[in-house]
């Protein structure tokens, strides 16, 4: 895939400023600010109900923020995501996965990945008119789309299941497919919402490798995760939320040592004993 032109490393790809979200009387996200650096893996952690998924939904345009700013420094210059409609955010280069997997279960694995490349393909079809007559340009575009899909299928080890319906895959494979599908949109920022939920330790391990592979290809990653093993090992930076407020922000080592984090989230005991919470995210 053609590597998108990215801001230099150590420049923020995503800037969240004073983000505020109210649902009626409930303040789910209360003036949260953080940066996600280009080429970094930024983890957002926090206890249940801390507002992590709300932050994700705000970044990806599923909610409109009650206040604050979200700016994406993508290849096309700074883009205010808080004032952009949902599908345009994805077109600007923000891809996401969902806490409860959202595939197209009745379509094959390959079709799932081609739907992800809808906008590229649709542009090549002359908005459907040219393609109805099978013009050459569309065939070329489709070949390229299938090639890109094939690359991500190889990376996620799903190539031999390409022609099976997505709904028939085992759980772990569905998680990988959702990541592959997000990557087929050629994003600059990939938002993963609890990708390790429901995976066994070996699958979590493979997932961590996959995430690092994606990062190596130039895509920045924003990650919500409960599996502390994964978070502490692969993240460059960890943002901790509790009750909608940011309580810590730093490297994994700094966060680990932060007393407020230990009190709010990791518990009073030895942090190495913190169990992975795989099942809870699958609900």
């Amino acid at each position: 895939m053609s590597a998108p032109i990215l801001p230099a490393r150590n420049a923020p790809i995503l800037q969240v400023r004073e983000l505020l979200m109210r649902f009626g009387g409930l303040t789910a996200v209360n003036r949260v600010s953080f940066d996600a650096m280009a080429g970094d893996i930024t983890a957002v952690i926090g206890p249940n109900g801390a507002g992590k998924t709300t932050v994700f939904n705000l970044i990806t345009g599923f909610y409109k923020p009650s206040g604050g700013e979200i700016v994406l420094n993508g290849p096309g210059g700074p883009k205010p995501l808080h004032a952009t409609v949902g599908h345009r955010i994805a077109q600007a280069g923000v891809a996401r996965t969902f806490q409860n997997i959202r595939l197209f279960p009745g379509m094959t694995v390959l079709e799932n990945l081609l739907v992800a490349q809808h906008n590229t393909l649709q542009a090549a079809t002359f908005f459907g008119i040219g393609a109805a007559f099978g013009l050459g340009r569309y065939r070329q575009a489709e070949r390229e789309a299938v090639a890109l899909a094939r690359r991500w299928l190889e990376a996620t080890r799903l190539l031999d299941r390409a022609d099976d319906p997505a709904g028939a895959l085992p759980y772990g494979a569905q998680r990988r497919l959702e990541i592959a599908r997000a990557m087929c949109t050629n994003p600059v920022l990939l938002c993963l919402d609890e990708p390790a939920a429901g995976l066994n330790p070996r699958e979590s391990e493979e997932l961590a490798e996959l995430i690092q592979l994606i990062r190596a290809q130039g895509c920045s990653i924003l990650l919500i995760e409960h599996d502390m093993g994964v978070v502490m090992r692969i993240s460059d930076r960890v943002v901790v939320l509790d009750h909608g407020v940011k309580i810590a922000d730093g490297t994994p080592a700094e966060v680990r040592a932060d007393e407020r984090v230990i009190a709010a989230y990791l518990g009073e005991g030895d942090e190495d004993d913190v169990p992975a919470a795989p099942v809870e995210g699958a609900a």
Partner: protein, 469 residues
């Protein structure tokens, strides 16, 4: 319709490393059976008798007041008298009892259900690949067969009209998953477009046909805008209302549409400028080709016209399904939120589905107007929408072949049961219930993938979404 032959294999090719790969866990080593055994069953005959007895009791409770007691006008012409019909009740209860008993016994003693093996599925798909060309061949040759009567030809035109409408609605309901109960509105828009343009401005059928499609597509977008945010039941209700609005407007806008009197004297289509007049005067079809003038010529022409229009609908749908747009429709049916996260403009995608589906409804409407030479709001009632939707649901959402077969069964069945007179709807309704019990996802429930790396394997209908509006 199916193309190259395919051989789905029921089992998935292995190879994905996954921890559920059959390595026994520690608890499974000691001969502990995996999964609970079924509890010891009660003797099946006794159970069946008990269950049938219960059903008979319920039936008796229902039928005693409903059938057993009847009020009639007394012989003196004055008051009502109560008449009892216990014999009828007994017969009905006995019927329920024996029916339920037979069902129970059958399910208890039938041979173990044969699993749908790969072989059987392969056989089914092989049959499937032959069915479509067979139907097509028959449809093309039908008017030329010597035993085809005028009645058969007219019935063929009727069936093909519904095939076309079914295929058109299939785009909206089957592919995009948007439940549309007002499809007949677009049919009406197409019919009135042709009727008005041809009687007012004298435009020919061939100019009006695309215009009818465009107007109907415009109506589709018009409907689409307000309902974009609605889903499921709410969408269905608004589309239903839209269908009624169009009909009521046609009924009440007397100065334009003639109100309940409709529009008559709509010109018939011509064959490249040659008319189908019965007299056979110069410039007519019969005169030009030196044939005996016959009203059959027009019927045959109309038959082929609707066949071509229907096949056009089918061709466009099949092409679009393999395009990004068609794939986006199906993705929308599967999961709208995921579509949005992938950068698909959900609004536009829904609107195109409405517009393209409506366009084919408009074409069919123009054909309807030219065939009947008369249109009135009576032809565009809700029951038409219901029939078209029933065709799509019965055929299997998204399946082109299924919809065609369902149209044949439904419309053909309507005619075949004509002898039953007032029981026609009863027989018809029962037949539909039976089909839906037997095949809850429609006649053809599997979905064919639009693209594949290797072989195309049919996807079971259980996995395919039905859409939520």
């Amino acid at each position: 319709m199916s193309g190259a032959s395919r051989q789905p294999n029921g089992s998935h090719a292995g190879g994905v490393p996954h921890d559920d790969d059959g390595v026994p866990g520690p608890g499974e080593m000691g001969g502990i059976p995996r999964g609970p055994e079924a509890p010891a069953p009660r003797p099946p005959v006794i159970h069946a008798l008990r269950d049938a007895g219960l059903a008979a009791l319920v039936a008796a409770g229902l039928f005693v007041p409903l059938v057993g007691l009847r009020t009639d006008v007394g012989p003196a012409g004055g008051g009502l008298i109560l008449r009892t019909r216990w014999a009828d009740v007994a017969i009905l209860v006995a019927l329920v009892f024996t029916g339920r008993l037979a069902m129970n016994l059958w399910s208890a003693f039938r041979p173990a259900k044969r699993p749908r093996t790969a072989l059987r599925a392969a056989q089914l798909t092989r049959i499937g690949t032959f069915v479509a060309p067979l139907f097509l061949g028959f449809a093309v040759l039908m008017p030329l067969l010597p035993w085809t009567t005028r009645y058969g030809l007219d019935l063929g035109v009727l069936v093909l009209t519904y095939v076309m409408l079914g295929w058109g609605l299939n785009i909206v309901v089957g592919l995009a998953g948007l439940l549309d109960l007002g499809y007949v509105a677009f049919y009406a828009v197409g019919a009135y477009t042709y009727a008005l343009l041809s009687t007012t401005y004298g435009l020919s059928f061939w100019i009006c046909l695309p215009l009818a499609g465009i107007f109907a597509a415009f109506a589709g977008v018009l409907l689409g805008f307000p309902v974009l945010r609605l889903r499921g039941d709410y969408l269905a209700i608004v589309t239903l209302a839209f269908g009624e609005i169009i009909r009521v407007v046609l009924l009440n806008w007397v100065s334009l549409t003639g109100g309940p009197n409709g529009i008559s004297g709509i010109p018939r289509p011509s064959f490249f400028g040659l008319s189908f007049s019965a007299g056979g005067e110069p410039g007519s079809f019969a005169d030009f080709f030196g044939l005996e003038p016959s009203p059959t010529h027009r019927a045959v022409f109309l038959y082929y016209l609707i066949l071509v229009l229907a096949l056009l609908t089918n061709w466009v749908t099949i092409r679009l399904r393999r395009q990004p747009l068609g794939r986006a429709w199906e993705a929308l049916r599967e999961d709208e939120i995921a579509c949005r996260a992938l950068g698909i403009n959900v609004t536009n995608t829904k609107l195109t589905a409405f517009a393209i589906g409506a366009m084919f409804g408009g074409f069919a409407g123009a054909f309807f107007a030219t065939r009947q030479a008369f249109v009135s709001p009576e032809s565009f009632t809700f029951i038409e929408s219901a029939i078209i939707l029933a065709i799509v649901v019965l055929g299997g959402l998204g399946s082109q072949l299924g919809v065609a077969i369902a149209a044949l069964v439904l419309i053909g069945g309507f005619e075949a049961f004509r002898d039953f007179e007032e029981y026609r709807m009863l027989v018809f309704g029962a037949a539909m219930v039976v089909i839906m019990v037997w095949r809850p996802r429609g006649l053809v429930s599997t979905r064919r993938p639009s693209v594949a790396l290797g072989e195309r394997k049919a996807i079971s209908g259980d996995l395919v979404g039905e859409g939520h509006g």
